[in-house]
């Protein structure tokens, strides 16, 4: 997290620290599911994506319950039973992060408390979530000023209108032909040095639903061109509600 602030314990109790292919983030859903980005499990262009999902589940590390990495490790790992990758995600397409969403099912339900609480999913009828300027908070253990953070940070970013995202991206496409699908949104600033960065992938972009008074996850940190050099791009959770609920409810 660039340009952010240290998170207090109890402010982002859904924040998970993952260690599958390097550091990543995730968010607790209910008491036994971790929402994260698919590319934290199957990185783009990785030659070694040869392990099966079962093997990856065996080796996955998930930590919950603290804002300090060392303390998180002390608390202990939460073993993963199963991994669900969205079928639209293509690890071989480096320029297209469509379907960058995954679910990890923990072997054992976690006991909730002040430092471990789930994030809500958004209401499917809410049309204001991704409106231009709608502020949200992103937390993560990712890079800050070229160093990977040992403490959870958070930053307050606005969602950006699609046209602005596309326009900005088009200005960069000559070098990098990234795909901005309808299952994504972008957020952040063009000039303010506030953004998410490497290591924050999989963490959730959250907003406070003023009607219900609950924090809801509207995006998943997915990709960007550098860090704090423009907008960051996030998986649009609203488009994946059926997929998420289908997996969670079936269980």
């Amino acid at each position: 997290i660039l340009g952010g602030r240290p998170a207090r314990r109890g402010s982002f109790p859904w924040q998970a620290l993952t260690g599958i292919h390097g550091r990543g983030g995730g968010a607790l859903l209910s008491d036994r599911w971790i929402l994260t980005a698919a590319h934290t499990i199957f990185p783009k262009g990785a030659a070694g994506n040869s392990l099966s999902l079962e093997q990856l589940a065996e080796e996955a590390n998930v930590f919950l319950g603290h804002t300090n990495v060392e303390e998180l490790h002390k608390i202990g790992n939460h073993p993963v039973r199963r991994i669900f990758i969205h079928p639209d995600y293509n690890p071989d397409d480096e320029y297209n992060f469509d379907g960058d969403i995954a679910l990890l099912e923990l072997k054992h339900p976690v006991t909730l408390g002040p430092t471990v609480l789930p994030i809500c999913l958004p209401d499917a009828t809410n049309t204001t979530l991704y409106m231009d300027g709608h502020m949200g908070y992103v937390s993560g253990f990712g890079v800050e000023k070229n160093f990977i953070s040992n403490d959870l940070k958070y930053v307050n970013l606005p969602a950006i209108a699609r046209e602005k995202c596309q326009r900005w991206l088009d200005s960069k496409k000559r070098d990098i032909p990234m795909v901005f699908s309808e299952n994504m949104f972008c957020a952040g600033f063009l000039s303010v040095k506030q953004d998410t960065c490497q290591g924050d992938s999989g963490s959730v972009f959250t907003m406070l639903d003023t009607e219900s008074g609950r924090w809801v996850a509207t995006g998943i940190v997915s990709w960007g061109i550098g860090c704090a050099k423009g907008y960051g791009f996030y998986t649009k959770i609203l488009n994946y509600l059926d997929w998420i609920k289908g997996i969670i409810r079936e269980d």
Binding site: A7, R8, D31, L112, P114, L117, G213
Partner: protein
């Protein structure tokens, strides 16, 4: 003289009959019929020389050492003694006939032929029971009680309670093994209400089926020889039930009614060699033996359709009030029935009722329950409520709510009688320390 064979009938003819009989002839016949019969003789034809007092020719009939007559003459003659059609009957089984003819049958120089006689005899049954027929007292012993005549004989019998002795005439009281098996009846001392005989050893047994109880009631008059100072020294009436003695009685005061509680009663009556007491009479009855009235052991026990009295083969059913289990010791019963047995006891003891216990309520993951009624009370009608560890979880219940009651079936159920406990569901999006922007 020729004895006549012991036939039941026969014919006797004068010598030469039907030709005139010879002179100077004496012929006798000794008629015998079997014992038990008498001889009946009748003359079909009689024609002898008539004379005064039958001096000349005659037939003399004798029986039982008596002369039954001396006969002579012919029908229509003025002199003589014609027997006519008379029946000559002996008292015993013998009759003697003697025929005598003198030296001539001449009358005024004329010989008159007299043909003689033709007689028939038959054996006639002797009614030995008719005292008028007694011939010789020492030959014919009398029946002590009853005499029964039959053709050719007789036999004796005795009154009820007496036994014919070996001489077939005398009777002696037989009461050593009198058995009564009817549900009710009467029994008394011999000859009652006449004085009872001496030297009695009577034993009256009442035997009824198991489950019946015999009651004895003494009737008036009651009279057994006694003594003022010594208890029943002469004659005794003892009553026993199933081997144990209920009492020994004598005197003039009847014992009244006795409940034996037994289906087997023996009444022993012993008398000595003298006395003129009138004896006793008992009316016995029986009814099904009674069992004790069942009494519940606690206030939760219900005896279905209680009866005022329970007797042999009756039964009762026990249930418990709602919320209570039937228990026999520590064992739970599904039902209970007790039957009154033949010995007046119930075939199994009364159970008791224990309050239903639902056991500890199911623990709620990420939550807890608390008792509303009484702490740690898991018995019938106890109430608990579930809650979750708030604010991290919230309670999701069925339509029956979060309150559970211990049911009569021994399970915790909600208001819809469902047993499934609620669930604690995670509360999302409610951090305890949400980010709050201050500076603007």
């Amino acid at each position: 003289s020729s004895p006549v064979p012991r036939n039941l009938f026969g014919e006797i003819r004068s010598p030469g009959y039907p030709k005139p009989y010879p002179n100077n002839n004496i012929t006798t016949w000794d008629i015998r019929v079997p014992k038990g019969y008498v001889v009946k003789l009748t003359f079909n034809y009689f024609d002898l020389e008539p004379s005064q007092s039958c001096f000349y020719d005659y037939v003399k009939i004798k029986a039982d050492k008596k002369n039954l007559g001396r006969f002579c003459g012919r029908l229509g003659s003025n002199t003589g003694n014609h027997p006519g059609r008379r029946n000559f009957i002996s008292n015993g089984n013998r009759m003697h006939l003697a025929f005598h003819s003198d030296f001539t049958n001449e009358d005024n120089g004329t010989v008159i032929p007299y043909r003689g006689f033709l007689a028939y005899y038959q054996a006639v049954d002797l009614d030995e029971c008719d005292p008028n027929n007694a011939a010789e007292d020492d030959e014919r012993p009398q029946c002590q009680h009853f005499c029964h005549n039959y053709v050719g004989g007789y036999f004796c019998s005795c009154k009820i309670g007496y036994q014919l002795q070996s001489d077939h005439h005398s009777c002696k009281v037989e009461c050593s093994s009198e058995l009564f098996t009817e549900a009710s009846g009467y029994l008394s001392s011999p000859e009652y209400p006449q004085p009872y005989p001496e030297d009695l050893q009577c034993n009256y047994s009442i035997r009824l089926q198991k489950g019946l109880s015999i009651s004895l009631k003494f009737l008036e008059p009651f009279e057994i020889d006694d003594h003022q100072q010594v208890h029943c020294p002469y004659d005794q009436l003892k009553i026993q039930a199933q081997g144990r003695e209920i009492g020994e009685f004598c005197g003039k005061e009847p014992p009244g009614s006795i409940e034996t509680n037994s289906n087997e009663v023996d009444i022993i009556f012993l008398t000595d060699e003298s006395g003129f007491s009138r004896g006793w009479k008992i009316h016995y009855t029986s009814e099904k033996i009674q069992c004790p009235q069942p009494v519940p052991l606690d206030e939760f026990t219900i005896i279905r359709d209680p009866q005022p009295v329970y007797r042999f083969q009756d039964y009762f059913i026990v249930t418990c009030k709602t919320g209570y289990n039937l228990m026999e010791g520590k064992r739970k019963l599904l039902s209970f029935t007790a039957v009154c047995q033949a010995d007046g006891t119930w075939h199994q003891p009364m159970p008791h009722c224990e309050i239903v216990n639902c056991g500890n309520p199911t623990d709620l993951t990420n939550g807890a329950f608390s008792y509303i009624s009484k702490p740690a009370d898991n018995t019938y009608q106890a109430v608990i409520t579930y809650r979750c560890n708030e604010p991290y979880y919230h309670l999701v219940t069925g339509a029956g709510g979060d309150r559970f009651t211990c049911s009569p079936e021994g399970t915790w159920v909600d208001q819809d009688a469902q047993g499934r406990i609620p669930a604690c569901v995670p509360v999302c999006g409610k951090p305890v320390d949400p980010v709050v922007e201050v500076q603007r």
